[in-house]
């Protein structure tokens, strides 16, 4: 049984911590591990060859989020009560169905694609066009993992590539940037703007509305990931990479 061995290793490590001298890692344990159960080394690893530029863009985005996006978000949450905002979120997420449906299929997960189709049908017809998320009342449809193009590329074996902080959009990698293009193309919210006549004065409304309604959640996640950080840039990068790796595994 491994348990006594791991306890002995742990005990040895704890006692060795009392010394000031560097101690070699025990046999069979990674040199970067602090004890037998330490599997954190490389958990959020990504290459960052343009770190100085990324840090500059991060600083720019941080000010943009504080000075421009946060006031817009606060105005939105002040003007619209929570149930209305929830309804708007539900509609936009329901319309985004092709992103999840197509990517579930592209990943060969046809059961999940079927569940997405059912969710869309239930929410559109029984939920007043998606305003009420009726699918949450059906156990088999409640916790369907959300698929996107970045996850599809990961499933196909594509690595992250270099880490990139995009102006305005924030943390990303080469793979996820490609994924964003796919998601943009598959999201009907953008179709009026991308395919329609740009002179059409209404074409910008769906996509702009989508940006504004998602601001409170996006800013909350961003602020959470840099709160109490030692180095906010590294904290946000680590949070992003771990989150995307986890999404790709689901």
């Amino acid at each position: 049984m491994k348990k006594p061995a791991s306890l002995i290793l742990t005990a040895l490590l704890i006692s060795s911590c009392a010394t000031q001298h560097a101690t070699p890692a025990p046999e069979g344990q990674s040199a970067a591990a602090t004890d037998a159960l330490d599997d954190y080394e490389g958990a959020a690893e990504v290459s960052d060859p343009i770190e100085p530029l990324n840090r500059a863009t991060f600083a720019f985005n941080d000010k943009l989020y504080s000075w421009v996006f946060t006031p817009i978000s606060k105005t939105y949450t002040t003007v619209l009560p929570s149930p209305f905002r929830q309804g708007i979120d539900n509609v936009y997420e329901n319309v985004k169905f092709p992103v999840r449906f197509v990517n579930s299929g592209l990943q060969g997960n046809f059961k999940r694609a079927g569940q997405e189709l059912q969710k869309f049908g239930v929410n559109t017809f029984a939920g007043f066009g998606g305003l009420i998320k009726q699918s949450d009342r059906i156990p088999s449809l409640k916790d369907v993992p959300l698929e996107d193009s970045g996850q599809t590329l990961a499933t196909w074996g594509m690595g992250h590539g270099p880490y990139i902080v995009l102006p305005i959009l924030g943390p990303c990698t080469a793979r996820e940037t490609l994924g964003l293009v796919g998601d943009y193309a598959l999201n009907p919210v953008n179709w009026t703007f991308a395919l329609g006549d740009h002179a059409d004065k209404w074409a910008w409304i769906p996509s702009t509305g989508n940006t504004v309604r998602s601001l409170p959640d996006q800013l909350s996640k961003y602020n959470d990931s840099k709160a109490n950080a030692i180095d906010p840039y590294t904290a946000v990068k680590s949070t992003y990479i771990q989150n995307r790796n986890n999404a790709a595994k689901e």
Partner: protein
Amino acid sequence: MKRRSFLPIFLTFPAAGFCASSTSAAEARLRTAIGEVLAVADRVTSRSALATTARSILQRHVSFETMTRRAVGVGWRQFNAAQQKRATELFTTLVIRTYSDKFTPGEHPVINYKNAVAPAAGRVDVPTTLVYKGSNYAVTYRMEEIGGWKIADVIIEGVSLVANYRTQLDSTFKQGGAAAVIRSLEQSVARPS
């Protein structure tokens, strides 16, 4: 399609009894810890009061020493005893503050426990879903046997608290050693959240 073999099931059968008892013991400890913290959260009216009151409870149920050691990484071996103690104190404050900052007085989370798994001897992962202020979160508690079952990490939406600080503190150590790690922790604790 995955090939299924009965051999692993047969080989692991004798261990199944041990795994079931360890997962249930770890989950029971987690439920106790969460119950105690929520009881405090129901009584207090501010985030700072929660951070202060819940500290002693959390210190019983969370292995902050393990968390700090792993957050620092391999450089921990070069900390002397006093530096380890100081780093653990500061990291404890930072972690408690991180979670108490998310607390809103009057809001009560709903927690659903899923099936716990034991990925290694002495370790049990307890996945949960947490519904708080209308939002759903996938939260996994990593429990480890450290003089009894204790929380060794919290993973929210796939983001590990320990891994997140590891990326930050490991590079800080490489740049300036133990003193730099303690200085950066002191600065973070001193900074208003």
